[in-house]
Amino acid sequence: MGKTHVTNTIRTLRFLNGEMTQKKLAEKVGVTRQTIVAIENEKYSPSLELAFRIARVFDKPLEEVFTYEPNQNSSEDN
């Protein structure tokens, strides 16, 4: 629960796209505004399909919108 390991640049990208509102982005990708808020606040990692849809709205590759940052103590790094 809480913060996920997936960070994102949605807030910045919205700003760079003429201060696109969360509601507008939500409409474009077919979810509710609350879901966009949860993703922006990193309280929810979107499905792969939704992540692609968001990246497509900003015309960016997926890795420029979402970044996976595992814990430093994570065993995945070993």
Binding site: M1, G2, K3, T4, G30, V31, T32, Q34, T35, V37, A38, N41, E42, K43, Y44, P46, S47, L50
Partner: protein, 148 residues
Amino acid sequence: MTFRERRTVASFISTLLIFGIFYFFLLRRYHGESMQLAEELRFWAVATLIFIGIMVILKIISYIIFTILHAIATREYEEIDTDELEKLIELKATRNAYMVFLAGFILSLVTLIIGMPVMVMFSSLIGAFTLAAMSADISQLYYYRKGI
């Protein structure tokens, strides 16, 4: 507080009210001392079924009323879309509700095994149903706030 959170709080309060009012009137009609066992079993079985029916119907009505009142108060109509996050939260909340109900169901059977009256068994069952519905609301509120 978002629309979803307010809706969940309204659902929680309505569950509590429905249970409280129903149980109050149920106890007024119950005369355990003057009932035969078969008659008492039938009374509680009917009461439990009526409770489930009333709970479902009144929850739907309260949900509609809340949506209308919310739209009037905020002058903004919130579309009740169910997206992937909402579905995931509902699934987790339902799972938690099932676990609470299962615990209550087992408890109600235990009351019979240890020789407690039928009234206690059925009251535990109705209580478990109510607590399960409330735990679903609490879970939803928690996931809305803390993320998933």
